[in-house]
Each structure stands twice: as structure tokens, then as C-alpha cells.
């Protein structure tokens, strides 16, 4: 029983990353009709925002310490970070420790800006082009972004720890009267994603901006005829989608050390999630994200693997095939979106 609860929890936690990426991808599909293969790269850039903030905070000056030797036998240069020297070791240390949450503040404007630049500079010229062209250009962009990051940060994963206070485990099982220990940061990630998803939905549901965008998703021409500048709103939506992907990336860094190809690793999966959810359906994307996360968690259980060896390798794809064959447009897809 505990094992099952644990895997459900784990599935929700895995699913939150899928859901966040798929949500942004769907916003772009739904509003702009663009197949964005660079969306994974946005997730990756978000993660590297966290890496950068951490590095900036740890920027240090060097003092030569004659008493210690470095690996070549020369006197060791001891590094002290500026933050620590400004705020004192305690406060400074705490600031560095909280680098990831602090990075959120920086990541939001940066990601929105990147989104704007991408949309205005490149994507907008591809609205009327074939999906094949969109795939080629965004894929090219993804490679470029990835290689730029690799050029500056290398190919190896870079550890970016969560704040000390949030890095232990918590007994989630206490709620059910048992003992289930789960990493605090993963729980934080889950709630974070719930908040973001909720925020996006209420934004679309309750603001006039959101209503216009939703109308635009349903029928772009008519809304355009009403004299509403839908293009500008779509640009903003692209920025928001980029920010969602970026924030998902920032918060993901303590879970797994980021590297330059983490975006590509998530890309295929998030496309599967979006399609299983149904093209253009935001609730579908979120639902599919969590569902696939949970199924993946269950498939990796030993009890399941002993019956079906290798099932964890293919579970996502098996589920995708079954759903697409039984429900033609995914879980909650609309008719006619991306079908030709």
C-alpha cells in the first residue's frame, strides 16, 4: 500500500514537469498554431538561468594562501565570494544557498524577453508557413540555443542545489497514518507547478485579456475582425509560455543537475504529452502530463517489470498509441486542430 502511495506521489511529481512543459507547448500551439520544437530549449535556458544566478552570486575574489598548496604545488588561491564579503559569511552564505528560488525572480523577465524576441524576430514570420517549415526553423533554433549554452557552460551536468532548508525529506505518510518519506524539494516542485497551472488557467478564465486570447484560439479571424489587436496578445502569450517553460526549468535544477541537452530529453516526451492530451487543449495537456507521470512511475515498479520486462522503457509510447487509437483526438482534443 505504501509502495503504491509512494509511486502515485512520485508520478505526480514527475508529472508536474511534464504538465508545465506541455502547458506552454499547448499555449503556443493553441494560440499561434506553431509547432515549437524549441520549447524544450526554453526549459533548458530556464534551468541555466538558475545556474547563472548561482554563479553570479558565487563570484569571488582570490587571495593567495601561502600555507596551502594547489594541485601543481603552487600556493593555493583561496576564493571568497563578493556576496559573502558584502553581507558577512552568514547572510551571504544564506543568499547563495537560496540561489534557485532567487533565480525565479530573474528568470521571469529574462524568459518573457526571450519569448518576445523569439516570437517577434522569428516565429511570427512562420504563422502562415507549413508545419514542416516551422519544425525545421524551431529545430534549428533549438540546436543553436543548445550549442550556445554548451559553449559557455560545457556538456557536463552542473550541480545546482536546493536551499539547505528544503533539501531533506519529509514524512508525507503522516497524513495517511503511515511512514512515507519524500524529498521536500520535489513536494515544493509539485505545489509550485500546481500554482503556475492554476495561475495560467485563472488568467485565461477571468481576465479580459485571457478571454480575448481564448476567443482567438477558437477563431482567430473573427476576433481579428472585431478590431482587436490579437497579434500583440499572442506575442504576450508566447512570452508567458516561455516563462512557464523557464520557471519549470529553474525549479527543476535541484532535482537533476542541468545540462545543455536536457531540453531535447524532454522535447519528445512533452510532444507526446501534448498530443495525448489533445492538441490545443490546456486541461488535456495538464491531465495527460500527470497521467503519464503516474503511469511511468508504476511501470518502473519491480512487481510490474517482472511481469512485463522492459515495460518502463516503452510505457509512455504504449499509452500514447492506445489513447490515440481509442480517442482520435487525444483525451480532450478539439476537432480539426493540426489534423491536416
Amino acid at each position: 500500500m505504501d509502495a503504491i502511495l509512494l509511486q502515485i506521489l512520485n508520478g505526480l511529481d514527475k508529472g508536474s514537469a511534464y504538465a508545465l512543459i506541455a502547458l506552454g507547448l499547448t499555449l503556443i500551439f493553441g494560440t499561434l498554431g506553431v509547432v515549437n520544437f524549441a520549447h524544450g530549449a526554453l526549459f533548458m535556458i530556464g534551468a541555466f538561468c538558475a545556474v547563472t544566478v548561482q554563479r553570479l552570486l558565487s563570484l569571488s575574489y582570490e587571495v593567495v594562501d601561502e600555507t596551502q598548496k594547489d594541485f601543481l604545488g603552487n600556493p593555493l588561491k583561496v576564493k571568497t565570494s563578493y556576496v559573502e564579503s558584502w553581507f558577512g559569511p552568514e547572510m551571504g552564505g544564506a543568499i547563495i544557498d537560496w540561489a534557485v528560488p532567487i533565480a525565479i525572480i530573474f528568470a521571469i523577465p529574462i524568459m518573457i524577453l526571450i519569448g518576445f524576441v523569439m516570437e517577434r524576430g522569428l516565429i511570427k514570420h512562420f504563422y502562415k508557413r507549413e508545419h514542416a517549415d516551422q519544425i525545421l526553423v524551431t529545430f534549428g533554433l533549438a540546436i543553436v540555443l543548445q550549442e550556445v549554452i554548451k559553449y559557455f557552460y560545457g556538456a557536463n551536468p552542473i550541480q545546482t542545489a536546493s536551499p539547505e532548508a528544503l533539501s531533506g525529506v519529509a514524512n508525507v505518510g503522516a497524513l495517511f497514518g503511515t511512514e512515507i518519506f519524500y524529498p521536500v524539494w520535489r513536494i515544493v516542485y509539485f505545489f509550485f507547478s500546481v500554482v503556475i497551472i492554476g495561475g495560467i488557467f485563472s488568467f485565461l478564465q477571468f481576465t479580459t485579456f485571457g478571454m480575448v486570447v481564448r476567443a482567438g484560439m477558437a477563431d482567430r479571424e473573427t476576433v481579428g475582425l472585431l478590431g482587436i489587436n490579437i497579434d500583440r496578445r499572442f506575442t504576450i502569450m508566447f512570452g508567458i509560455a516561455a516563462a512557464v517553460a523557464g520557471l519549470a526549468g529553474v525549479m527543476y535544477t535541484p532535482i537533476n543537475s542541468p545540462n545543455y541537452h536536457m531540453g531535447m530529453d524532454f522535447l519528445v516526451l512533452s510532444f507526446v504529452v501534448v498530443v495525448v492530451g489533445g492538441m490545443g487543449s490546456l486541461p488535456g495537456a495538464v491531465l495527460a502530463g500527470f497521467m503519464l507521470g503516474i503511469l511511468e512511475a508504476f511501470a518502473s515498479m519491480n512487481e510490474v517489470k517482472s511481469i512485463l520486462p522492459g515495460i518502463d522503457q516503452i510505457i509512455i509510447y504504449v499509452v500514447a498509441i492506445i489513447i490515440l487509437l481509442t480517442r482520435p483526438r487525444g483525451l480532450m482534443g478539439r476537432k480539426g486542430v493540426m489534423e491536416e
Binding site: 505504501d2 509502495a3 509512494l6 509511486q7 512520485n10 508520478g11 511529481d13 514527475k14 514537469a17 596551502q68 594547489d70 594541485f71 601543481l72 593555493l76 554548451k150 560545457g154 556538456a155 557536463n156 551536468p157 552542473i158 550541480q159 542545489a161 533539501s167 531533506g168 525529506v169 518519506f181 519524500y182 524529498p183 524539494w185 520535489r186 532535482i255 537533476n256 543537475s257 545540462n259 541537452h261 536536457m262 530529453d265 524532454f266 511511468e296 512511475a297 518502473s300 515498479m301 519491480n302 517489470k305 522492459g310 518502463d312 522503457q313
Partner: protein, 448 residues
């Protein structure tokens, strides 16, 4: 049609010379007179450095490339000579190999068998490379080794840890300096016994491909010989990035040791996840829960950050070794690049030197002569103590290091500390050991 295999650059060049010597361009057809593939007839010899430059192991590849360039510099008489000065063989003069200047070409394996073979082929066919070396994964090493065997050039493997490289997939033209899964197990077992006792329950998480399987087999066999019980062996998909769903069940399995048969990004993530789930603070069966990473890489350990602290594993070489050879290598590498070399850099540097030395001793670039010179060759001074290149399987037998993640690193390179240097005798196995059975070395191929 001449019945030749692959291009013979040397012949081409002489042909080209003949052509330019005449007023009118003449057509020269290569004869099958060449003794072996890419016989270097000019004043230089070309080596092919085939390393991952894109993909997850690109940093390791870059470090290998640095070491190769350093080795070439030393062979050609540049720099401070590095380990050439400490190497037990004194044949190399610093004037290239057999008096020919050493040149090199580089390629990208992309950590894919196909791409690695394409790249190696282009070095052989286009650039006239007489030896191919490099790689940072076993699949690639085995694939390229097979190619070199067919092409009639020597392959000096880079970082490859699978038993199969010198086991069931061994080839006469291929040589491995790096250690392997069996050796990791043999070196780790006594240390683990001292640290954690003989009554332990181990849980294996294993990357689901051949390298992972051979390591899992090796480690499980070595620890079971100590009296440990293997609770579960779980295979994880190569593409997995989040191992949480594999880690979570460990808690309730009754295991008190987790063995992570992962490498590279997989290792970083699985270790990070394991620490995240608080495994290290657990007490199971009245004992502290422990994690073991049998194959350590400093470059990758960096990616796991503080999570490696106190975790044991094995490694081929580490820059903090105090022997003369290691120090000489670290000095020349560190001076040139500003940071210490990785084990990948070390092994490929050694391989280059060993190849050059073998050619020098054989007095020929002919692969069969080189094979003969390397087989059962004993040497010292390359940082791993006395080493034997065993003739039966072309595997080096040398000391293996057991290392531990350092608790208080003084710099970003100072992540591991050497706990024990397991002597070569302890990790040596008979050539017909069942874990290495199934293949045949075959006979050397010179491409003639």
C-alpha cells in the same frame, strides 16, 4: 581491379609525387605492393583521435583531446616530455615515431556506434590514419575496434569499462589500457568488506545496456563472494533522466546498500536522486545505509556536487597520485591547460605513448608488428605502477584505485580521495574467466 582494402595514403602520395615529377599529368594506379594499410611513407605519420565532441560525453571527449595533443607534442619533442621521462621504456626519442613527425586528425563519435565508425572510416580512408584511438563509452569502443580489425589498423581504446571490450568482443588489433567491470568489483570488494562488513543486502540499479549488465554481474559476483546478499537487480532505461521512481522502492526493500551501475549523466542523476530521497541518512537492519558507485569519473562527480561526499567507487587513475609518472603528467597537463587531467585524459595519453613505443620497438608501423610488440609487454612509470599488456586478451593489468568522495574539497577539482590502491595481482583474472568468455581474439590484420 586491385584487391586492396581501404585507401593507402602512403602509396597515393608517392604516386602523386611521381605525377608531379612529369610535365604531363600521368595516371598512376596504386598497386597492391603496400605491406599494410596506410603505411606512412612520407616524413610524417597520422594518428586518428576519435572522441565524443557532441552529446553527453563531450566534456570527457574534450579532455581526451587535450591529452592527445599533449602526447603528440611530447612525442615530437615539444613541452617537458611528460610521462615520456618516467616511462620504463626509453625507446622514444622525442623525434616523432621512427623519426616521422606525428600528425593527427580528430573526429566526433557523437557517442553513437554508427557515427563513430563513420568518423574512424574517414580517418582511415581519407586522412591515412595508421592508428585510431579514443572513445568514451564501451559500445563505441567495441564498434570501432571491430572496424579497425577489418581495416587493418591498430585501435587503442579510450575510456571503455565493459568486460566485453577485451572479453567476448576482443579483437587482435584492439588494445585496452583502461580497467574493466570485473576489476572494479575485485578492487572494491575488500574495501567494502572492511567498511561495511560481510552481512549486507545490496540493491542494484543498472543502466539497461551491455556495459551496465557486465558491471552489475561483476560487482554482484564480487560482493556475493564476501557474503553479501543481492536483494534486487533493477534495470533502468538509458534515456531515463529522473530516477526517483526507481529509487523510491529501495527504501522498503530491506536493502542497506545501493549499487549504482550508471555512468555519466545517468550516474549524476541517480546519485543525486538517491541522496535526495534521504537514503544516506537511513538506518536499515541496524546499519547505516550506504551507496556505492563502482565506476567513478571525476568530471561526472562534479555534476553531482556535494552528493558524492563519502561515497566509494573505483577509478582507473587520479591526479592526486604521488608517483613520479602521475606527477609528471599532472605537471605538464596542468601547466598547459590550467587544471588537472581526468582519468580519461590519462588513459588516452598512456595509450598514445604505448602505441608509439611499440612501433619504435618493433621498428615498423605494421599493425602485426605492433601487436607483437604490445602483447605481454611489461612496463612501468605511466602512473599505475607495474603494468602488463596481456597477450591473450590485450587487456592491461595494473593497480586499481578505490576512491571516495571527499568531505572537504579544497578546490573544484579536489572531489575524490584515494582510499586504497589495489595491487594488480588482486584484480587479475584468468583469460578464460566466464565473464569474458565467448569471443576470440582472431589474428592480427594488417590490411594487406
Amino acid at each position: 581491379m586491385s584487391k586492396s582494402a581501404f585507401s593507402r595514403r602512403g602509396v597515393l602520395k608517392s604516386g602523386a609525387l611521381a605525377g608531379t615529377g612529369l610535365a604531363l599529368p600521368t595516371i598512376f594506379t596504386a598497386s597492391s605492393a603496400a605491406a599494410f594499410t596506410n603505411d606512412p611513407t612520407g616524413s610524417s605519420v597520422t594518428l586518428g583521435f576519435n572522441v565524443p565532441q557532441t552529446g553527453p560525453y563531450a566534456d570527457e571527449g574534450a579532455d581526451e583531446l587535450r591529452a592527445y595533443q599533449l602526447a603528440v607534442e611530447h612525442l615530437n619533442g615539444g613541452g617537458d616530455g611528460g610521462m615520456m621521462n618516467t616511462f620504463s621504456s626509453k625507446e622514444l626519442q622525442g623525434n616523432g615515431i621512427l623519426g616521422k613527425e606525428v600528425k593527427f586528425v580528430t573526429g566526433d563519435t557523437q557517442t553513437k556506434s554508427d557515427a563513430a565508425r563513420a568518423s574512424a572510416k574517414s580517418m582511415i580512408e581519407k586522412d591515412g590514419a595508421v592508428m585510431i584511438t579514443g572513445g568514451s563509452s564501451s559500445g563505441v569502443a567495441i564498434a570501432v575496434q571491430g572496424l579497425c580489425q577489418e581495416a587493418g589498423v591498430i585501435f587503442m581504446a579510450g575510456l571503455t569499462h565493459s568486460n566485453d571490450t577485451t572479453g567476448k568482443d576482443k579483437k587482435a588489433n584492439g588494445f585496452r589500457h583502461f580497467f574493466n567491470g570485473y576489476m572494479s568489483g575485485a578492487a572494491l570488494a575488500p574495501v567494502l568488506k572492511n567498511l561495511y562488513g560481510t552481512d549486507r543486502n545490496a540493491y542494484h540499479l543498472t543502466a539497461d545496456y551491455t556495459w551496465g549488465w557486465t558491471q552489475e554481474e561483476s560487482i554482484a559476483a564480487a560482493t556475493e563472494a564476501l557474503g553479501w546478499n543481492t536483494v534486487e537487480k533493477v534495470r533502468t532505461p538509458l534515456a531515463a533522466t529522473d530516477f526517483s521512481s526507481y529509487i523510491a522502492p529501495v527504501l522498503n526493500s530491506g536493502a542497506d546498500v545501493l549499487v549504482l551501475n550508471h555512468y555519466g549523466g545517468n550516474m549524476v542523476n541517480s546519485l543525486t536522486n538517491a541522496v535526495q530521497f534521504g537514503l544516506r541518512e537511513k538506518v536499515v537492519n541496524g546499519k547505516n545505509f550506504e551507496i556505492v558507485v563502482p565506476l567513478y569519473s571525476r568530471l561526472m562527480a562534479k555534476g553531482a556536487g556535494a552528493n558524492v561526499k563519502g561515497i566509494h567507487g573505483s577509478t582507473n587513475w587520479h591526479w592526486s597520485l604521488q608517483d613520479e609518472g602521475s606527477q609528471a603528467f599532472v605537471r605538464s597537463f596542468g601547466t598547459k591547460y590550467g587544471f588537472p587531467p581526468s582519468q580519461a585524459a590519462h588513459t588516452v595519453y598512456c595509450q598514445t605513448l604505448l602505441y608509439a613505443d611499440a612501433v619504435q620497438r618493433a621498428g615498423s608501423f605494421n599493425p602485426c608488428a605492433v601487436v607483437e610488440a604490445l602483447e605481454d609487454y611489461e612496463f612501468d612509470g605511466l602512473g599505475n605502477g607495474k603494468t602488463l599488456y596481456r597477450g591473450e586478451d590485450h587487456q592491461c593489468f595494473k593497480d586499481v584505485l578505490v576512491v571516495r568522495g571527499k568531505e572537504n574539497p579544497t578546490s573544484e577539482f579536489d572531489l575524490l580521495e584515494v582510499v586504497e590502491v589495489t595491487p594488480a595481482a588482486q584484480v587479475t583474472y584468468p583469460a578464460d574467466h566466464p565473464m569474458f568468455a565467448g569471443g576470440a581474439l582472431g589474428s592480427c590484420n594488417s590490411g594487406a
